[in-house]
């Protein structure tokens, strides 16, 4: 059972504090903050003990979500509960930030009151909670980099009308009044996290996709929805692949509310979405990507003069020409003691900088169209350079975001709501792939 729940800003300001059992002192917030900020890098912050009190926390949206307990509960339960609390807060307030939590404290207290009683979790389902939550959310306009994805190439308004503004999904689920309110929208997102290791000779060593289908529902009443996936989707390793078009995942798991009676034959998921965000399906795919990894790197590292390393990077994007990778950033470790760097980049919107503290150079490319190839030359000055220092260059790690693209090839064929709902509601399907970890060895 949970003794207290509190939410702290990254600076340690108390945003929310609720004591459920009166067995721990209020002082424990400060104790927690002192402990968590005093930890060194290799210490584990997730569970900390102070006398007979345990603190379990998660960090989401730059905030600490902390539960304290005097018993020895299941860590999975507490961590998932805190994550759920953060997700619900996001649903109800629109976005997750210090500002939104501050502005909506009454709402969050109301939520907490219904979710937890005397330290015991009561319910976290939006269907039940919406009957009890009376406070209106105060929403702040969030700033999202994701907006970039909607700006067409060369500034032309391509398909603008067919694309939902990305801020649309980050609004409170319960704004009955208000400017955006009453819009019956439903968003179905296919989100994949890609983690790839490419060996030194360009060999794919590890590739791994963790994907999920997430629904964000703003419909006031829930009715059954049918989500059609690729018909040729096959599950499991054993099944033989017929033709190359087959989309395959190793294993998948569904939300308990999903009805699967038509899944085996037609690959249709039936679900009654409740308000807010929920994950209906999780899947993963290991080692056998259906397409080439999105980026290939052709590096060359040379010793130039006495104290200078030449790093020449050629980066090719193997996405289909219509797709674009966004916010690409490339981190290249450089030898210890690197002092300065000069660079030759191919276009002015790219940036590169040397970060001596992390012994790395960071190359950033805001947009990287599919099929393109970019190159960059870096000259790094390292006093006292030895030939062995060149071994310190690498592995290169990348982070990026691929909009309108899934690496597994999973697609949503259709999205149908029960007949009574159609006409009134707008349905959106979005695809996005994030790089969880993309490493290329040199």
């Amino acid at each position: 059972m949970i003794s207290q729940i509190f939410i702290l800003s990254s600076k340690g300001d108390h945003l929310i504090y609720k004591d459920f059992r009166g067995e721990a002192s209020k002082d424990s917030i400060n104790v927690f903050y002192e402990r968590v900020t005093a930890l060194s890098g290799d210490q584990t912050p997730v569970v900390m003990a102070h006398k007979d009190l345990h603190f379990i926390h998660v960090k989401q949206g730059g905030l600490y979500w902390v539960a304290s307990t005097k018993t020895n509960p299941s860590p999975f339960t507490i961590i998932e509960f805190l994550n759920r609390l953060a997700a619900l807060t996001k649903d109800y307030c629109g976005s997750l930030s210090e500002k939104s939590v501050r502005m909506n404290f009454a709402l969050i207290y109301e939520l907490l009151d219904e979710m937890v009683d005397f330290g015991y979790i009561q319910t976290t389902s939006t269907d039940i909670l919406k009957n009890f939550i009376q406070t209106e959310a105060v929403s702040s306009k969030p700033f999202s980099l994701f907006d970039l994805s909607n700006v067409g190439l060369f500034g032309a308004e391509t398909q603008q009308s067919k694309v939902a503004p990305s801020v649309a999904a980050s609004r409170p689920i319960m704004s009955s009044r208000g400017e955006q309110g009453g819009k019956n929208e439903i968003f179905v997102d296919v989100i994949e996290r890609l983690s790839v290791v490419i060996g030194s000779k360009g060999v794919l060593m590890k590739s791994d996709i963790q994907g999920e289908i997430r629904i964000k529902c703003f419909l006031p009443t829930s009715s059954e929805m049918r989500i059609g996936l690729n018909e040729e989707l096959s599950i499991g390793k054993s099944q033989l692949k017929g033709y190359s078009s087959a989309v395959r995942v190793d294993e998948c798991r569904f939300h308990q509310a999903v009805k699967l009676d038509e899944f085996d034959t037609f690959r249709i998921l039936k679900v009654c979405p409740s308000q807010g965000e929920q994950t209906v399906m999780q899947y993963q795919l290991c080692d056998e990507l259906p397409c080439a990894p999105p980026f290939q790197l052709f590096p060359s590292v040379q010793k130039d003069y006495v104290n200078r390393v030449l790093i020449f990077l050629k980066l090719r994007c193997d996405l289909p020409p219509k797709s674009t990778a966004l916010n690409v950033s490339i981190t290249v470790p450089v030898p210890k003691g690197s002092v300065s760097m000069s660079q030759e980049l191919s276009s002015p919107d790219q940036t590169a900088e040397l970060q001596p503290k992390n012994k790395a150079l960071l190359w950033e490319i805001p947009r990287f169209p599919g099929g393109a190839q970019l190159s960059a030359l870096f000259k790094v000055d390292v006093p006292g350079l030895s030939s062995a220092s060149l071994l310190e260059v690498g592995p290169v790690s990348m982070s990026f975001e691929l909009a309108k693209q899934t690496c597994s090839g999973l697609q949503i064929r259709f999205l149908r709501l029960a007949p009574s709902q159609t006409g009134l509601s707008q349905r959106w399907v979005r695809y996005v792939t994030h790089s969880d970890s993309y490493t290329i060895r040199i």
Binding site: V58, S74, F76, Y120, Q210, Q284, S437
Partner: protein, 735 residues
């Protein structure tokens, strides 16, 4: 943290709240109430506003009500007299037609933590238990627990307990779970809620209606239930089978724990359950939330202690992502080391070696140590990597590599040659690995040609050396080097000893130097005997390499905070308790008796001898020595084999420092045991025998045959008398 001018703020709020104009304007009024709550969160003391807030609670606006209740619950214990005023209104609301208002009032009334509340809340709670609305029943059930916690020492109200047990059949799933929770708290002193067969089966059948939180909690309660028969057990397990694959990690893990617990007598079932849950566990290891990832990794490590092979095909899932926090990377590396096998060793090593140049020195060093662990089995490949790292000439890397080398040489002697060759290169080693380097020089000085020059550097720089440990190690190294390469090091050793004895201010170093000095005075051979020990000890690997543990070892802490907090601490205590467990109980009984034995034994012998265990003896060595040596002494011990359990005998012998190597099962005839011990420089090997037809007159009594190397009759007599008294005591105890 109180802000400056807080008094002003409170005054202003008070003025505003009591202003009739404000009270008339609902929005403004609510706004001020929000401000009060904001101050509460910021830590401002606004308890003086209690009266105004009580007034504000009389409203139809539920949001405002909730805010006021929040305020009241915070300050009720500070202002009990004023809180009583609020109670009457709250009790009135408990009879409101709106179930939400009823529930809200009841729940908040129970949250007033002040003495004397019981008399006001008891009646509404009892009424609430029978309310039509499930929302009110949920609140009322937990209200019972709250009421009990207000007066923990009062007698348990049997009526309420019975009512709660009856409510376990409530149609609302949350009410059911709340009943379990409330009963657990109320009956804490009696061992918590009773889970008998009807209740257990009822809960199992309701599992499907519960939400995931309730499921995992009920699964935890079910740990208490023991099915009567195997048939019932398998019925229970098959009902729960689907939950092993739940999308919610906490349900899957809670189910696994229950499986491991219930099927403790069926290892095959346990293994199946682990296999089933491996997919959800792996999924948590790659979850988006890093905290969940961490919890998953910690539990995977637990599982791997019994089933090391379970995850070996998924080793790539434990490669570190570059943006992951260090603490997750540490755990992943630990797992990778355990997963290494012939197929994946190349890829794992390639992955680990890429971490060795990480920005974080801690991570780099941990990666190097991990490669060192793998080197115990795959030494060649690892040595190449480690040697390559030395070329980077970075202090933290070199230092970690040298320390790894030291451990490696000790565990696998076959890598010595390669290591010695490499160590030649790293003459100027960084600060924290000096000790390791010196140790390597001392142990394997004859194979490292540059060893005397390296050491000379240290001897010359002795005056500026700060670390005591390095000085001590240097002394030992110098003596050892002198033994194998006297010509090159004699002068150096002389200077070193002179400095340490004459000029060194630290007593420990000085004493150590004097010790070596006296030793050298006895002659070189004498010194060699003392100083040079075995160069490596493969039997150590038994201690460091983890054996497959039975599942029961960790099942009890599975899905608790244990695996997450103080990972190392758990491990240690587990190992200790595992080692102690068999002897613990016997030790307590035996301790007084056996102490007497060792103390009173001198009446048999002229002089007390002391036995010691020393380094463990392997079966092969024992066998070889036993065959080589002749029996020096044979004696009947005058008492039969104790009828106590054999492990008790073993524990008792262990207490007087006699190690049992092997024995036949208790009821075989003839019964034999082989034991050994060490005493003042000799090794005593002995055989205990009972019921041997060839030995004269010994069908009842134990016969001991002793072999020894080198011979020391005095020690044998001492050993025999100690053995005799141990058996005597055991026989006395058991009769």
């Amino acid at each position: 943290m109180p802000y400056f001018g807080s008094e002003e703020t409170v005054k202003e709020l008070k003025r505003a709240l009591s202003n009739p104009n404000v009270q008339a304007d609902r929005l403004r009024y609510k706004n001020y109430i929000s401000k009060v709550i904001r101050s509460v969160i910021q830590g401002l003391d606004v308890s003086t506003l209690f009266m105004d807030m009580v007034k504000a609670s009389a409203t139809v606006d539920i949001v405002q009500k909730k805010l006021v209740y929040l305020y009241m619950c915070t300050y009720a214990s500070d202002k009990p007299d004023l809180a009583l005023l609020a109670i009457n209104t709250l009790r009135k609301y408990c009879a409101d037609p709106n179930p939400m208002v009823r529930g809200l009032a009841l729940s908040n009334m129970c949250n007033f933590r002040m003495p004397g509340m019981t008399e006001y809340i008891e009646q509404p709670i009892v009424a609430g238990l029978r309310d039509k609305a499930s929302y009110v029943r949920r609140v009322a059930v937990l209200g019972c627990a709250k009421m009990h916690s207000l007066q923990p020492n009062t007698e348990i109200d049997g009526i309420i307990v019975n009512e709660l047990y009856a409510l376990l059949r409530d149609p609302d799933p949350v009410v059911v779970v709340n009943c379990l929770r409330a009963l657990e708290e109320i009956l804490k002193d009696e061992g918590g809620v009773v889970i008998n067969k009807p209740i257990a089966h009822h809960l199992l059948n309701r599992m499907k209606d519960l939400d995931s939180w309730a499921q995992s909690e009920v699964l935890t309660f079910l740990l208490r239930y023991r099915p009567r028969s195997d048939d019932e057990l398998f019925d229970v397990l098959s009902l729960l089978d689907s939950f092993l694959q739940s999308t919610h990690a906490h349900v899957a893990v809670a189910t696994l724990r229950l499986f491991l617990h219930l099927a403790s007598a069926h290892p095959a079932v346990q293994a199946d359950a682990l296999l089933c849950t491996s997919a959800p566990l792996l999924a948590t290891c790659g979850a988006a939330s890093r905290e969940l990832r961490f919890a998953g990794l910690c539990h995977v490590q637990k599982v791997m202690r019994s089933q090391p092979g379970l995850f070996s095909t998924h080793y790539k899932r434990f490669f570190c992502g570059y943006s992951e926090p260090t603490y997750i990377k540490f755990h992943k590396m630990e797992i990778l080391v355990e997963l290494v096998n012939d197929e994946n060793v190349a890829l794992v090593l390639e992955e680990l070696s890429s971490y060795c140049t990480d920005v974080s020195p801690e991570l780099a060093q941990a990666a190097i140590a991990a490669i060192g662990r793998i080197a115990r089995t795959y030494s060649e490949k690892c040595l190449d990597i480690l040697t390559g790292l030395l070329a980077l000439k970075q202090d933290h890397i070199t230092s970690a590599v040298i320390q790894t080398f030291r451990d490696l040489v000790w565990f696998c002697p076959q890598s010595t040659a390669a290591v010695c060759q490499t160590v030649e290169v790293c003459v100027d080693s960084p600060q924290d690995s000096e000790q390791a380097l010196l140790w390597l020089l001392g142990e394997h000085g004859e194979k490292i040609s540059s060893a005397p020059y390296v050491m000379e550097g240290y001897v010359d720089g002795l005056k500026t050396e700060l670390s005591l440990a390095v000085k001590m190690e240097l002394l030992t190294t110098a003596v050892k080097m002198f033994l194998c390469r006297p010509a090159e090091t004699q002068d150096m050793l002389g200077r070193l000893l002179h400095y340490c004895i004459e000029e060194e201010s630290d007593v420990c170093v000085r004493d150590r130097a004097l010790l070596y000095y006296r030793l050298l005075q006895r002659g070189v051979e004498e010194t060699r005997k003392v100083v040079t020990g075995p160069k490596s000890d493969p039997s150590m690997s038994v201690l460091t390499e983890r054996q497959e543990e039975p599942i029961s070892q960790w099942a009890s802490t599975f899905n608790t905070l244990g695996p997450l907090s103080g990972h190392d601490l758990c491990l240690q205590t587990a190992v200790i308790s595992a080692a102690d467990q068999p002897s613990n109980s016997t030790e307590k009984e035996l301790l007084p008796g056996s102490k007497d034995v060792t103390l009173s034994s001198p009446n048999d012998t002229e002089e007390e001898i002391s036995l010691s265990l020393g380094p463990p003896l392997s079966h092969e060595t024992f066998e070889k020595m036993w065959l080589d040596l002749e029996i020096l002494h044979r004696q009947t011990l005058g008492s039969p084999l104790p009828r106590t359990a054999l492990d008790m005998l073993q524990a008792a012998l262990q207490l007087v420092k006699i190690q049992t190597l092997a024995f036949t099962p208790g009821d075989t005839v003839p019964w034999k045991a082989y034991i050994y011990t060490r005493s003042t420089g000799t090794l005593i090997l002995a055989e205990l025998l009972q019921g041997d037809p060839q030995a004269p007159g010994s069908d009842e009594s134990l016969v001991v045959s002793v072999k020894q190397q080198p011979v020391n009759q005095h020690a044998i007599r001492g050993f025999a008398s100690i053995l005799k008294s141990v058996l005597q005591t055991l026989n006395d105890d058991s009769s």
